[in-house]
Subunit: 109 residues, 2 copies
């Protein structure tokens, strides 16, 4: 493990961690990872007001986590890099283990 600098941590935080730090945005990442989806579709899926979805999509877009492509009046969002969800999936597995007691608790018994 290469030591990390404070500047690198700040970039990591600004470009990724901040982006995935909201449940709605996590859901958005999973949804657009399946296939490109437009805002209307994502608004229905998330069950929040449309401006809320646009707000979260903007945060993801500004950080480069998702790409957007206009098609007529719709704008389709997609995941920009598979590593983003790859990392999240590792954390997801970790949490799943946590919930079934296989991580951190049992390992210390």
């Amino acid at each position: 493990m290469t030591p990390i600098s404070e500047e690198e941590v700040l970039l990591l935080h600004r470009y990724v961690c901040e982006g995935i730090a909201d449940p709605k945005r996590l859901m958005l990442l999973y949804y657009v990872a399946e296939r490109p989806r437009n805002v209307s579709e994502l608004t229905e899926l998330l069950d929040v007001a449309q401006p809320t979805v646009s707000h979260h999509l903007r945060i993801l877009r500004e950080r480069g986590l998702v790409d957007s492509v206009r098609d007529g009046t719709s704008i389709f969002y997609s995941l920009s890099d598979p590593r983003i969800l790859q990392a999240i999936e590792i954390l997801r597995a970790y949490v799943a283990d946590l919930m079934t007691g296989r991580a951190s608790v049992v390992n210390k018994a």
Copy 2:
């Protein structure tokens, strides 16, 4: 990629994403991943007030991201599960590519 449920996303957020959503906490995770470290040491390394470090450590501890062991008057913190940093390292590599223009921008040219 197995579809994720809203409940699973909430757990993922509460137990991990929220925990790594602050630069100071990211630094803490890297520091305690190297070796167990006590609060005094971490306070010097982070260059913030001791209560601030305790606060961040509590957030990490409550989520199970770090373990703590008392030794005399000191309390040593360590990383609870290697997968946490494994995932972060993937994101770190992604950000490094972003910064050198190898990710997301170039791939779309």
